[in-house]
């Protein structure tokens, strides 16, 4: 019974997509209905996964068994993915109401949901890799959904290629893991023996994770991916796909040796810091959120690295809701503005402002999600973030190296930057007065717009996860994840206190900067050299696109010259020299061999003609000369004898 249920959960989204493609006029409704069934099934399923694994194994290649399995942590994420996917489907009906290719859109979205669920369900590394790639492929298809604009096509290609680099390195790691005698089942993974190859395997796996979760140095693809339709950004590039790396890290936690985990934590915090810094300098409403996602993923990766993996997974959950909520709010804003003026699809926050009174529901939802993101008490983000930071602190205390304290302290600092850029976004978009041309007031009527945003905002309230706003350990999640979420240590109170203080300071700073002073001052900061440098992501993307990619193309071009300049002429020369050689033999044939023969012939001819003169054609003369000849021979014989 359970296996059928799981198969239903896996295949329903895809089926919904196919049905939507078949009946284009009602595509959104149909696929949303399918997704709602998936969500209900997933929720129901969760209620009876009691820590046990559900298994379904099959032989994919001869002698090569793979399988699906679900435990409680993946069941929680299955519910998460199907729920957010359902809400995004609903929102898409509203968002894409004017688009002509809705059928294709829902097919791709359904395909994505199916592959993401498959990724969460697979219990074999190769099976997981298969879905891992399919997720990347559907992301590519959705980024290039509006492919008429070549900019989107390029963005999709770069996103796919960046992922592909990391994925193939991951693939190598998986193959080496299998080659070293592992059967590849995730549930039976154990620590690797300490040797060179296990280090290589760990590094390969790590790079794969960094790529998918948009960590340093791979993160440049995520801001580019923002050209996708906004609901897609909410689902794929904020809530689910980019979290797949964190999920894999959670699954492979046992494989990494402690030394590598320290590296993972450092890379996580570097990404979190860089992402937050770049986000603070952005003016595009979606790109801010994209860098914020990078930064939050960095938090999760760091959480994994310091061993607070359950809290990191919890942060994945809370982040999925509030970040998807924020993206849908951004989508709501963009949709509102583009309806006012279809020719101008601006995403520039400098030209927004004062939208609070136009889009009240969006505003309040945005506020809740934002508070969850910056980590204020009473909101979900607070619980998970504090958990990660406490984990980092206790990790730093346990390690002998004093430098390790840099991690939790940087993490604290990042909450200041996060609060700053989110406050800035709130002020620029919703507060003050509208800075564009005139804006008509239109009521927010469509429930398919309001409902998903509201649901996501409500799920970002902390009380659902823990009754006490600040401390304590009783929570739903404890039940779901099956682990004790409690961090010991005397650091708890001062750390939480300073973190809240820093968040409030950050919000206050943004208010001081953008609300009290005029916009002119802000403009001048935006065009300063430092700001431009940071806003362009430290030119990392430029470095890839201007240095690495062209040099690769140049190499390819040069390699192709080997064929046309070296190999082809070489063999052509050989054939030409054979032809020349045969010409020479031909010449030899005609001049020397033929010449000798004709020489002989002409000698004979000349002799012949000479003798014809000697022998005039008379029978009597012949007779006489014959007799004379005979006599001479006889005389000679006589003398000789």
């Amino acid at each position: 019974m359970e296996d059928y249920l799981l198969a239903f959960i896996l295949l329903l989204p895809l089926l919904g997509g196919i049905m939507a493609y078949t009946f284009p006029s009602k595509s959104g409704i149909i696929s949303s209905i399918f997704l709602s069934i998936t969500t209900i099934l997933a929720g129901y399923y969760l209620s009876f996964v009691e820590g046990k694994l559900w298994m379904f194994q099959f032989e994919w290649l001869p002698g090569f068994v793979m399988g699906f399995a679900v435990d409680r942590s993946s069941a929680v994420l299955i519910l998460l993915v199907s729920l957010i996917s359902f809400l995004v489907h609903l929102f898409s009906i509203f968002y894409l109401s004017g688009d002509g290719h809705k059928d294709r859109y829902y097919l791709k979205l359904g395909f994505f949901t199916c592959s993401m669920l498959g990724l969460l369900m697979s219990d074999h590394l190769i099976l997981l890799f298969i879905f891992w790639e399919l997720v990347g492929f559907s992301s590519y298809m959705l980024i290039t959904f509006w492919f008429q604009d070549v900019k989107n096509a390029i963005a999709g290609r770069i996103a796919f290629m960046t992922n592909r680099i990391a994925d193939l390195i991951l693939f190598m790691g998986l193959l080496m893991l299998l080659g070293s005698g592992n059967d590849g089942f995730i549930s039976s993974l154990g620590p690797l023996p300490q040797n060179d190859s296990s280090t290589a395997i760990g590094i390969c796996l790590l790079i794969g994770i960094l790529g998918k979760s948009a960590q340093f140095p791979f993160f440049t693809w995520l801001p580019r991916a923002m050209v996708a339709p906004t609901p897609v950004s909410a689902l794929i590039h904020a809530a689910t796909m980019v979290a797949a790396g964190v999920y894999l890290l959670f699954r492979l936690f046992i494989v990494f040796d402690p030394y590598l985990l320290d590296w993972i934590a450092s890379l996580g915090i570097i990404t979190a810091f860089l992402g937050a810094l770049i986000a603070a300098c952005q003016t595009d409403i979606k790109v801010v959120l994209a860098y914020s996602t990078i930064s939050q993923l960095g938090y999760m990766v760091m959480g994994m690295g310091v061993g607070a993996y359950d809290m990191a997974l919890f942060h994945l959950w809370t982040h999925a809701f509030f970040k998807a909520g924020l993206f849908l709010c951004a989508g709501s804003v963009m949709h509102y503005l583009s309806i006012q003026d279809p020719t101008d699809s601006t995403q520039d926050m400098n030209r927004m402002g004062g939208l609070k009174s136009y889009l009240p529901i969006t505003f309040w939802s945005y506020l809740i999600c934002m508070m969850a993101l910056v980590g204020l008490p009473f909101f979900s983000g607070f619980i998970s973030k504090e958990g990660i930071m406490l984990g980092a602190f206790s990790w730093a205390i346990q390690s002998e190296n004093g430098l390790t304290f840099a991690l939790p302290i940087t993490a604290l600092g990042i909450s200041f930057i996060t609060a700053y850029y989110m406050g800035k976004q709130l002020i620029l978009v919703f507060l003050g007065s509208y800075r564009g041309e005139k804006l008509l007031k239109m009521p927010q009527k469509a429930w398919i717009e309001r409902a998903p945003i509201l649901v996501l905002a409500i799920l970002s309230v902390g009380v659902f996860y823990r009754i006490h706003p600040l401390f304590g350990d009783s929570s739903f999640l404890e039940y779901w994840l099956g682990t004790q979420i409690k961090v010991e240590g005397s650091w708890e109170v001062p750390m939480i206190g300073s973190s809240i203080l820093l968040v409030l300071l950050g919000l206050g700073f943004s208010y001081w900067k953008y609300s009290r002073k005029g916009m002119d001052k802000v403009k001048s900061f935006n065009s300063s050299r430092v700001s431009i440098f940071v806003r362009n992501g430290f030119y990392l993307d430029k470095f890839y696109m201007v240095i690495l990619v062209p040099s690769f193309n140049w190499m390819a071009f040069k390699t192709s010259k080997i064929d046309t300049v070296l190999i082809n002429p070489f063999f052509n020369k050989i054939s030409i020299s054979i032809v020349v050689l045969s010409k020479v033999t031909d010449l030899f044939d005609r001049l020397i061999v033929d010449g000798l023969i004709s020489l002989v012939k002409s000698v004979v001819q000349i002799l012949g003609s000479m003798f014809t003169k000697v022998h005039p054609a008379r029978v009597q003369m012949h007779f006489v000369s014959a007799i004379i000849g005979l006599l001479i021979i006889l005389v000679c014989l006589k003398i000789a004898l």
Binding site: W60, L61, P62, G156, R157, L168, G179
Partner: protein
Amino acid sequence: MISYILSLIIWMPFLGALTLLFFNERQTLGIKIVALIFSLIQLLLSIHLIWGFDLNYGDHLLTSFQFVEKFSWISMSLGSFGSFNIDYHLGVDGMSLWLVVLSSLITVLGVLASWKLKQQVRSYFMLYLLLSTSIVGCFLALDFFLFYLFFELVLLPMFFLIGLWGGPRRSYASIKFFIYTLVGSLLILVVMIALYLNVGVLDPINETMIHSFNLLHMMDSNYFIEGSSLAKDSVLTFMGTPLRAVAFLALFLGFAIKLPIVPFHTWLPDAHVEAATPISVILAALLLKLGGYGLYRIAFSIFPDAALHFGYYIAICGVLAIIYGGMNAMAQNDLKRMIAYSSISHMGFVLIGLGSFTVEGAAGGMFQMIAHGFISAALFLIVGVLYDRTQNRKIKNFSGLATKLPGYSFVVMLVFFASLGLPGLAGFVGELLVLMGVFKLSLVDGMLPNWIGIVAVTGLLITAAYYLWTIQRMFLGKYWVREHSWEPKMKDLEMREWLIFTPLILGIIVLGMYPKIILDTMNHSIELFIAHVGNVKIKP
């Protein structure tokens, strides 16, 4: 009771070619229908073959052949030289079975793809059916002489099919193709004669040697005449290399030119580009497989010790082909040329799989050949669709085709992604198996170092790069074509084209999702093959 199904499969197209003699040049529709019917019968027969195929037949490579037909064909006594025997000897095992099915399927699709041909229809289809007979004959022959006969017979129709119905540089391309392959064939011929002289059984009655071209005898070291130059314990050398190694290298080179390997690959882009669409399809989907099959069946099976000795270098050849082919494909601006180079790149995996001497690697190489048969056929048909409409193939002359030709673009996306190895489609499985073989460290003394696998994976990245770049340049973006006169011709796929693409797409998806469907039939033979090949240890 002997079953004659293999002969039927081989000679069915030939029968079709004979039937075409009764038609005159103007009855084009009749000619096409006859060609279609005979190739369809061949396809049905080879599908029937799958049903009767026993998965676990035989317990040694030499006894694992099914549906065997063996008749004495030429037999004469040469006095003190012994007697001379050529058999008509056919048989099928798990490795050749799917190549036969693939050949007959591609033949049918090729007939459909040539449906619009207008000039010299009768001679075209006669040559085409003759080509089909000789290709299938190669896959089924178990007598070296018979194999060689078919192997050479492939050249003849191919030469004319490229040279008469090809593009502007067709005569250059066809001669180049002919000469390259002929050089390879001559190397094979020399080794074949040497083997013939070395292999034989003593006739118990009149104490003379009975020589034969029987491939099964050549694979069995017991049949080598004691003290002969190619026997297992032979110490004869040629310029310091043992004779067996020299013979293996000659065979390897002969087949590898066909596969092809770098640097003997330059015939391929020219021949593929100049040939008409259906002929390029046959070239890529089937002719390259002749080389690969020859390596499996002949070079490796007859000289396993030498093969093991050179395994490492063979894998390096494969890696070189993968990277070099990929880099070249990246730099091409002609779509067909790009695809031709991608074939070179993909065939490199076959060599790596063989060089790994593991069951995974060998099965992966074999699977890669089948999968590449489907994918490359679809790729060249894709080029054909565009070429039919515009007589142009330059990548930079098109943009945003997905807007105007959505069905076509769907096919392109699917096939391109299959070719770049997206999991769930056929291209991934072969590569996965081959790489699993390479990374399997413990087997056969860890013959291949890890870097081979690592570089091969880099090749996959290059593949993704050029396919995605092509998709972006040709199919995404704003719709635009260079010539205004092409506009009215830019129509989506018609019924006939869908009919050709559908079986290929189905094959690509089914093979990718459920590879066991062919790996199960192949597995037993591959295991026997590896047991035969891998058991031989290198002489100290």
